[in-house]
Symmetry: C7
Subunit: 231 residues, 7 copies
């Protein structure tokens, strides 16, 4: 790193290498967030997300990590909680507006582009900071889709992907064990196993969010009982 790195990291401004430090620091915040995993499965998309809850008095289901965006779209995030909720809300408004304006459901790629474009503004203008969240947005339109958007606002489709503190290990496991067209429940099994590995705390129905989208059922968020069965 440059000896004078601090000279370039105080705003939306390039360093001599063409890097935006504020964006890289926001990514560092994401790297501290709880791990989330998304997988394209047979006829659907699966999300398994860890929740950082250390306080025994907290009500675990008030920390949500897997969100219904529309009947056919769900999302999860890693990073700053308030930023994540803000972007999730933005995604929900975006799909609702699309329904109202065009009387059709929004495609997942189009939603991901819109969110990417929204987050990109925060990397170009002074007077604000980048969003400190990575998102996985997935669901089914013409086919099951899964996209990741990161603080720098680029987005990319994945067959399976992980974000947050366990990204590195989780990705290695996904590369080894993920297969196309795994059934929904096998995918959930894999996701839970990965979270178990990357998480330091014991998994329970309290610190795990599991959701999926299928053509038949649309978005489904597992109940605590259903979650327990997978642990």
């Amino acid at each position: 790193m440059y000896p004078n790195v601090q000279a370039y990291d105080r705003g939306v401004m390039f360093n001599p290498d063409g890097r935006l430090f504020q964006v890289e620091y926001a990514k560092e915040a994401v790297r501290k967030g709880a791990t989330s995993i998304g997988m394209v499965a047979k006829d659907g998309v699966v999300f398994v997300a860890h929740k950082n809850i250390n306080d025994p008095l907290a009500v675990s289901n008030t920390i949500q990590k897997v969100f219904r965006i529309d009947s056919h779209i769900c999302a999860t995030y890693s990073g700053m909680v308030s930023d994540g909720l803000h972007i999730i809300d933005t995604a929900r408004s975006n799909t609702q507006n699309h329904r109202m304006l065009f009387d059709e459901v929004k495609s997942i790629e189009s939603l991901s582009k819109n969110i990417s474009s929204y987050m990109m503004q925060a990397t170009q203008y002074g007077g604000m900071r980048p969003y400190a969240v990575s998102l996985l947005i997935g669901g089914i339109d013409s086919q099951p889709r899964l996209f990741e958007i990161e603080p720098g606002a680029s987005f990319l489709g994945y067959r399976a992907d992980a974000i947050g503190s366990g990204k590195k290990v989780a990705t290695e496991m996904l590369i080894k064990e993920y297969q196309d067209n795994m059934p929904i429940d096998k995918s959930i099994d894999l996701g839970v196993r990965i979270i178990k590995k990357v998480s330091e705390s014991k998994l329970s129905e309290d610190n795990l969010d599991i959701g999926f989208v299928t053509i038949k059922d649309g978005f489904v968020l597992l109940s605590r009982e259903q979650t327990t069965e997978y642990i």
Copy 2:
């Protein structure tokens, strides 16, 4: 901490670790505020809040720490007084607007999200500072609920929770002694005992605010006489 920490703490801007120092400093202000405690009880939610009053000439009931937000919602805060009152006002407007627009009462989770979203703006844009308050918002909609929102604007549900200078000790006592479905008066007893422990000044009806929400009675703020009975 970084040797050059000051380089990153002058605005809404990340340090290389992805931290927002202004938000952390605002939390430090909260850590200096008088302690407030919230508990989900049997059929209700209870708030016990300490008031820092050292001036014998002050009129204690003009410092309010437990606030009616709506017929079924109450709140307390710790931190900067003017920020706290501003957010309380914002919460009241929010619930009133919801009533007027939708002709229904606002859910407590939805209110907490709105307040979180409002406070999040102050952590992203330049030209303003974060709010230096933590809030407990509670009440009954479909069931008794309790949420905490902190200066970084994240929010989380709790069965029992403490904010302010006594947070650490109070939380330990809550973990040991709080039980689900305690009756309202037992909960108040526990709350008062905790405030006694974390407070350096002698408790009296002058420096204690006690309120609760039940289905039957809605929001109730104890009178000075009723407060005295619990001390």
Copy 3:
């Protein structure tokens, strides 16, 4: 104080302790202002305020320290003259608007909250400084009330209170000698004695403002002759 205190005192921004230095410096300006005293009395509220007039050619009654806000509300301030007059004007507009909108007089607590909220804006946004005034607002609505608002915008009710350079000494005297339900004239006597003590210059009808609010008479500002009788 921090060795690098100057790093945090250039705007509306927290230091690592969660303090807003610009607000504290504004309080320092208030500490240099002439002393004002307010007391809840039997059936009324009394204000006694010192005026710093050293120029023998000044027309003493053009420095006003005790102001009629509405028929039943009066106020005094200590601190920067122009800020004080600005806030007094804001208070007057606020009560007049309330009358026009709701056809009722404003409660004193509600007015105090509004002024507190107005002054709070100046502690949160960049591009302006906090107001360098403390105010005492008092009067009678359902009962005699007295509130203090300080540069940090917090407000608190008092039975008797002092602001300005003599605050410390005056408060000690009030604690010792103030009693609830003192008649108006006894209260004025006490206030004048306190001002005499904290003021370095000789008291006269030129450098003293005395006013009170009673149910019977509303706001009354003593004439020079009436003032002389109390000295």
Copy 4:
């Protein structure tokens, strides 16, 4: 003065003592301006103002120091010429608007408050500097009145007052020699004598502005011939 005084004098911002350095520096600019004197006289108000004209080619009557604001109000200033003219214009618009809106003449105290309030804005918001002028505003409404407004925007009524470079000496002379209810011409005499004393250049009808307001004549600006008679 503080060793690091420069740290606090770059904008509208308090130093640890609660002082606004930019306002104090603006006062320094006023202290360099030519002296103006105002006096309440019998049935009127008198202004005598010195004009700094060193250039023999300048047309002395194009430097105006005594201004008609309205039929019954006049004003003079010391300090930056362009700021002074701007505030004088503002005062004229203010009285004209009052006439148009309320069909009555503006009181002199009310005008002074409005100008004070206008100048106060320049001491609170960033992105502008305080006005570098002191003003004397005087005239007759219910009685003869005279007010001074300074760069910090406070205002105060006087029986007799001086502003500008000769303020200290002039004030001492006024204290010794000014008397209430002096006739207009005696007041002018006194004013001219004071200006003679504080001015380094020889007085003539070229560098002296004399004006007064009486009930009978309204505002009168002396002609060059009339001015000469007083020198």
Copy 5:
């Protein structure tokens, strides 16, 4: 480079040499992007673009490097993904608006000028950074055209051109091997050979985008199968 280069590279501001460092740093970001190649061919324009995909789980066709702008115009970019997508969107809106306003297709030179003009704003105003992308815009209007726009917003027409990390080597190969009026497939062959040379990773249908515009077919994006045939 200047010893004090950092003094001039923090915003849209010239150094003593008349250089805009932020623009030069943005170009550095482009130099790190995957290589794209454009060629004017016989009766058409050809684009071959490399995609940086190292993640075996990524869905390669969700990284798009060759974009349809209008029926007769296509574009590719190198540099920051989010900036690239933003400019591509801007280009699409621009051509659609032109169609709607004038009922005719936009010329490629006119579109390039508009995009150049749009990107130029980001090099002149404070509070934002330059766009970190170079673009190749090509297609057929009266004849096949190809333009490059760089972060400094200048644009220039080319017969064949390369942008991104392999620009230097690719340009040397183009100079040696490119010929006017090569058939579309020969042009693609050349482009693929160049990308093979400048790319460190093995080429496949996953990391290569190939598109062309001809009068007969308008814009065509090769399918994975068609792409494979060229590798």
Copy 6:
């Protein structure tokens, strides 16, 4: 000058002496401009202005230094060319608007005040610099008038005046040789002689602008031939 002078000269801000350095630096720019002279003459006002033209290929009459503002008003400036032309344009619009709004010609003093007020804004608000021009505005309304406005926006009437690099010497000559009620041609003679003295380059019809306003002829700009006769 202060050792830390640079601390106060970066914007519209006072130094401890009450000086605005940016205004003083703008005056320095004026001191580098070519000299212009204005004189009130018998029944008219005369302007003689030098033009800095060193390039033998320049078309001298495209540098204008003496401008018609209205039928009865003319002006000249010294300082930054673009600022000068901007203010000249502003003056022209100002007089035209006055004609349209009030159906009368603008007085020269009133125009000078308006321009002064316009230039004063640039000395008070941040985000812009003062205008680097001094102006002479003259003409005939009720009588011949001549005003100077400088970068600090103060204005003053003169019988005869000089601005620009030769101001000091020119003023000395004017004091010695200027007389009231000189005929137009004698005044021009004097002006030309002064310019000859203060100018390093040889005077010719190429680098001299001569204009005057009389009641009979309004504004007249001398032709090259007429100018030659005076050299």
Copy 7:
């Protein structure tokens, strides 16, 4: 140059000498641009402009240096390409608007003033940089005219003029060899000879733009063939 020159070159702000460094740095950028030459000829105006094209694959006619502004006006620029194109566009809009508003063609001097005024804004307000271009604007209205506008926004008419990197040498040649009323083709010859001298690269129809305006033909841009004949 000042030891602390950097203190004054970060924005639109004067140094103690009254210089605007950002404007001077922008001029430095112009000094790096390819040379352009303009000449008033017999019955017309001639422009000869060099184009910096080193890339053998570039399409030379897409770099334009001589532009039609209106039927009777043409222009060339040296400096930053994107700034140049922006100002050229502004000039075109300006003349078109004039035609539409007044139903007459714009005079060349008036256009030059408007462009100068537009560029002047960028030298006065913060938050933007000066334009890094010099322009030659020429054509025929009542007679052949030629104007230069530089980054500081001053403008001046010329009989013959050069801008860009070869300005010094080119001007010397023009002074020696330019004559009034040279026929168009002789003027072009001279211009081409000058460009040959100041250019390091070999001249060809690829890196030379030649255009002229005559009464008979209006604006004419030479074809590649016609250009070749002059080399």
